[in-house]
Amino acid sequence: MVIFSLGIIRGIVGQIVGTAVGLILVTLIRLLMGLPAWKAEPAMIIGALIGAVGFMIGVGALSDWFKWMGGKETPMHHGPPTDKPAWTRYFSVDYNHKVIGVQYAVTGILLVLVAGSLALIFRTELAQTGLQYIEAATFNTLFGMHGIVMIAGILLGVGGMINYLVPLMIGASDMAFPRLNAFGFWINVPGAILVISALFMGGWDTGWTGYPPLSVLAPMGVQAFMLGVYLVGISSIVGSANTLVTVAKMRAPGMSWFRMPIFVWAAVATSIIQLTATQLIGLSFLMVTVERVLGMGFFNPVLTAHAIEVGSPPGNVVLFQHLFWFYSHPAVYVFILPGLGIISELLPVFARKPLFGYKWIALSSLAIALVGFLVWAHHMFTAGMEPFLRIPFQFATMLVAVPTGVKFFSWVGTIWRGKLEFPTPMLFVLGAISVFLIGGLTGPPNGTVTTDLYLHDTYWIVGHFHATMFGGFIFPFFAALYYWFPKATGRMYNERLGKLHFWLILPGFWVQSLGQIAVGLLGMRRRIADYDPALGIQNGHVWITVAGYVIGLSVLVMIYNLAWSARKGPVAAANPWRSRSPEFQIPSPIPEHSYAEAFVITGEPYDYGLPGATYVAMNPSAAPAAAD
């Protein structure tokens, strides 16, 4: 069968077979133990885990490692497959970081589309009071699904940018661990399948935060969602370790830490968070799982008779929130730091000026990442944690504003007295700054306990959060797609459609965001299927819904543009943006082995406007040796 030559098809078959094996296994074990044979949830959990392994075996991500275990050697295969069409490599395990980067980015866009469509469904429901189109149970599942699929999509988008760009920017031939890299991408696929399959297991009604005890009582869909997140989390951990090793060990000669393109700094800061904090969302979801299946009462305040007899203290629901937010707050920095890195990366190119305060921007990324570890409990000001904790977390939270401010001011310094040009990527970068500004400035009122007691769990938070995500990830991600499109495909996108995309999404988003903030201030709660018209928020909701559709439309314009241009667009020059970055000094599209010869770094990365300044010396054997 020709179709089985595609890794992804084999993977899905593997997942189905693995799931079936898991279901049968659990049933057999229960029979042997003399229990009623069928219990859905344990069978589903084991089935899901074996199914994930089945997928990875089927797709072929584990093949080389199995050979290593047997002591065999596995030469690294680079290049398109020899026995089938070149496009099939994108649907199979491939070790080239550029292929993996594209796989990440395209899967990420797909998931963002799914999540956005879900949002439009419940957004339509919210345009009027009362329930018109969907039931409350469906609504509750949809907003949780929107949240978590969006998060997975954004994580994949981040992975796409990092995997594609970091080796190119530091002059590495590939990532440090190419097989681990492929594993890290493919584990997302069974993860995403699991999360989406939650829809068919009764959904769940906790939102993406999964707070117990609600998540302990929720339908089985919550279990599929948590296991799916677990798999995506594994991707985060192995991907970030890979990135850190690559940056630490594989930089081109002469590229000291402060001569790296600024995006690499953002990738390092993001990876530090992903590497460590991700464990804690995994742990917190695992605890919910064992509480659901085995009755282990981490979060159960009610004790059994036997537990009282052995003198046990009760479980505590607030513990979950501490563990959960220890990841889930820094996670937003995982989403935005690469985006902010893209902004810093592109501004100098289109302003034809050095990046203002390179070291300050680089270190501010690290500062945001590190301070980000100390602020998680600002999500819990009303949650009933120890009251004395509120003040230190308020102070720590306010500190995040300082390195974020440094970035804004440095961006302004970068465009000041430049020679600005406005092709689509630059428009998206500037749009990102304006949108992220809304998100940033609405932050301190939530970070202050007194005002947060009002704003918490309202649409103000929804508005704040979406502004940071659009400004910190979505807009810069689109900028990156347009900016590196010629390097990836060798063709130019359509500039007119690019600008149309921008001029739809920017006003669309401003209306949506300010609308969410406004109805939130008037008393609109988060995560409700129906609201009280007496609050005076009906018109606001209509505006938000219409704006949501405009945003959706604009994304379709982009997808049409990129899909059409990838095949029919005009052939791109090697360096259409006159960039100094290494990847623009080689042909478009970038060859299989990016750099025919390792290059040498001889100057500063952003010396636009300094005559004679070089950054990348492409032929080191011809040029005088650089001091290392």
Binding site: A248, K249, R251, P253, D628
Partner: protein, 68 residues
């Protein structure tokens, strides 16, 4: 060669002895009134021994990894 090997084995055994003694001390300390801090400090000592001698954490720094 054989000499180096036996000295490495001896070091290995000494570290093991140290860890065993510290574990015994931990058990003893647990009977005093507020053992938490003491136990934590002993734990850190044990961790230091394992990290340094058994896990060779120093190799992370000493093997460079610069382009040669």
């Amino acid at each position: 060669m054989e000499k180096k090997k036996s000295s490495a084995l001896r070091q290995s055994f000494n570290v093991f002895l140290g860890l065993a003694v510290l574990t015994a001390v931990e058990y003893g300390v647990s009977f005093i009134e507020f053992p938490t801090v003491a136990l934590f400090i002993i734990g850190l000592f044990k961790a230091g021994l394992i990290l340094n001698y058994f896990m060779h954490v120093g190799l992370l720094w000493s093997d460079g990894g610069k382009h040669k």
